[in-house]
Amino acid sequence: MEHLHPWFIAAAFGVSAVLLVADAVLPRIKFQSILRGILLRDRRPSNPERPAP
């Protein structure tokens, strides 16, 4: 089993890195999508609060 130890170590650190990257990136994507949503809502012609062109 000892010859497989480097693979176990690589798997543990690899999975951790993937989860950490997802934790950092996913909220950033959501933030950008909320900003896009606000922009689209403000551009809608039916929006009474739409700024005058």
């Binding site: 170590i9 543990a12 999975v15 950033r28």
Partner: protein
Amino acid sequence: MNALLLWFHRTGSPPHFDRFTARWMPWCFGLAIALLLIGTWGGLFMVPADYKQGEVFRILYIHVPAAWSAMFIFVAMAVQAFIALVWRIKACETLAVASAPVGAMFAAITLITGSIWGRPTWGTWWEWDPRLTSMLVMFFLYLGVIALHNAIEDRRAAARAACFLALVGVVNVPIVHFSVHWWNSLHQGETIQILSAESRMHYSMLWPLLLTTLATKFWYLGSLLQRARVLNLENESAQPWARALAAGSR
């Protein structure tokens, strides 16, 4: 004291909170990544192999800091939830709800890396051992807080319900911590004694663990600020400052 209260009051207002998080988040993530890289490098390449476990013991340099952080974040979330429920402070509701996904991520890392370590060391991927089971319960409690917050449409009611679950669930933290003392456990007991300073781990093997532990704390701060910023913007999307931020992001 007045200056401190004024600072809290100002930072609690949504536009200031957004600027505060945007300013400090990159520093927290930057410090966390630097410490994580140095600690991981040290743990993988600089410390000697364990005389009993061999090379596979190096998994502890990510497993142990993740486990400590999962427990630390649950306590922090419960404190934030308590303040939010008792004093009805909206920023604390946001922080408590934002803590749950970060804690769930660290609990998942703990469970997965522990399982990968268990296969060559114990000969099994999983055992219904008190420490492992209580950590799994903690992971489900984190998922419960996230699910409860997403299940209720009224955002304030959703945050309060999630805070209540966080407060009730904190009872599991001492169970996770003391499980190796209270029951016969396959999991090893404490190797590192921070308070009594009688660590059974030699300093030559300890320093990368201290760095990765510090890194996970800074990661929590960075991720907490980032997620709180998202929730803050989501709740305030109709306000002029949020629309100005969206217009400026084009």
